[in-house]
Symmetry: C2
Subunit: 218 residues, 2 copies
């Protein structure tokens, strides 16, 4: 590097560190992480007070910010509810997408999905996800939510069908088996609390064993 | 019977049928059945509109009665929510009580309980039962509700322990198995709708088979 190029680079570095504005990409990253922090805070307040009893003021107070700061990230309570749901369910659909390309039996893939599902349900978003009702949402948002739920449901049924086809799952009613499994996993969102002695992974292990082997002595 | 006694009896019968007031016992029975009809109507309106969006006016309109008539049977919305829950859960605890005196293995008794539980969840009260939150209720009522839920939970765990002891159920974590089963059954309250092709009994049969035998090919 020439002495002149080195001086130019140093000057640019000094300008950048002297500027009170961060580079655009970093700002976008920060904004996204703050938005998630808002959703996480909201999810905790929802659980504490119930979705209906929670106001945007409650969420702002919990996060130590003003309501206008909140509005910078999310426009209203419905959007917050929806985004909490979407963030959680997105972690489940992400696994479904990965599983499509993976080797393994239907039953093995179903176990991978159940494990992630249990983790999401034990997260701060779990309670909110199982508590959101269509009645709380505008018809348009309720439809989007329903379609995301349906994607998970169809994904589970698909893995069960795959397992039946490859011989790893006993012949059964895929719809009812999917409903039973999802019901058990959603239950975690209802009862799981901080301080629960089992981790999400330990709960998942017990649930998967139960659904794979059943209660009958083997 | 003397002619005089027969006349007296006939006169009494005419008086009774001529009276616009029914005997006390019959009135009590009617009141109870009307109270249940109010709760059933309320449960249907709750499901239709959501518990939070339902007013006593909505319930009165659905039942074609005035609000004072509603107040004759139930004092406020919280009581209606609670009584819907109690009526449903009472049908499950009733089976638990009967099972204590019955012959059979723990697994057989668990299946009987699961069958009744599924029926309650598919009834009009199911949706309301799985949707009621502590946040919707006063602390005193929330405590009573929690204690009823706990009775069912402990009952299920007890039957699982009984099954493990008598060898009809594989060694497992009774708490997690009870949570998984109750979660799956509560799920019915969330997804079951009029027009669902399977009856509650058919759903119960599939769920019980799944929980007994598991997904692994046998």
């Amino acid at each position: 590097m020439s002495a002149r190029a080195a001086r130019r680079r140093q000057a640019a570095g000094e300008r950048a560190s002297a500027s009170p504005w961060k580079p655009a990409r970093e700002r976008a990253r920060e904004r996204e992480s703050k938005r998630e922090a808002v959703l996480l805070g909201a999810a905790r307040v929802f659980r504490e007070r119930g979705v209906h009893n929670t106001t945007l003021d409650d969420i702002a107070a919990f996060l130590n910010v003003t309501k206008p700061t909140l509005y910078y990230y999310l426009t209203n309570k419905e959007q917050i509810i929806f985004e909490c749901f979407r963030l959680g369910i997105g972690r489940i659909t992400a696994v479904l997408a990965e599983l499509g390309a993976l080797e393994g039996t239907g039953r093995e893939k179903l176990a991978v999905l159940a494990r992630r599902y249990a983790q999401v349900m034990a997260s701060d978003f779990g309670w909110c996800m199982v508590r959101v009702e269509d009645h709380d949402l505008s018809p348009a948002v309720a439809r989007r939510l329903k379609s995301m739920k349906s994607e998970i449901d169809q994904g589970i049924r698909g893995l069960i069908r795959e397992g039946i086809a490859d011989g790893s799952i006993r012949d059964c009613d895929p719809k009812m088996a999917a409903f039973a499994l999802a019901g058990a996993l959603n239950g975690i969102g209802h009862w799981y609390r901080a301080g629960e002695p089992l981790t999400a992974a330990e709960i998942a292990t017990r649930f998967i064993e139960l659904f794979e082997r059943g209660l009958e002595p083997g």
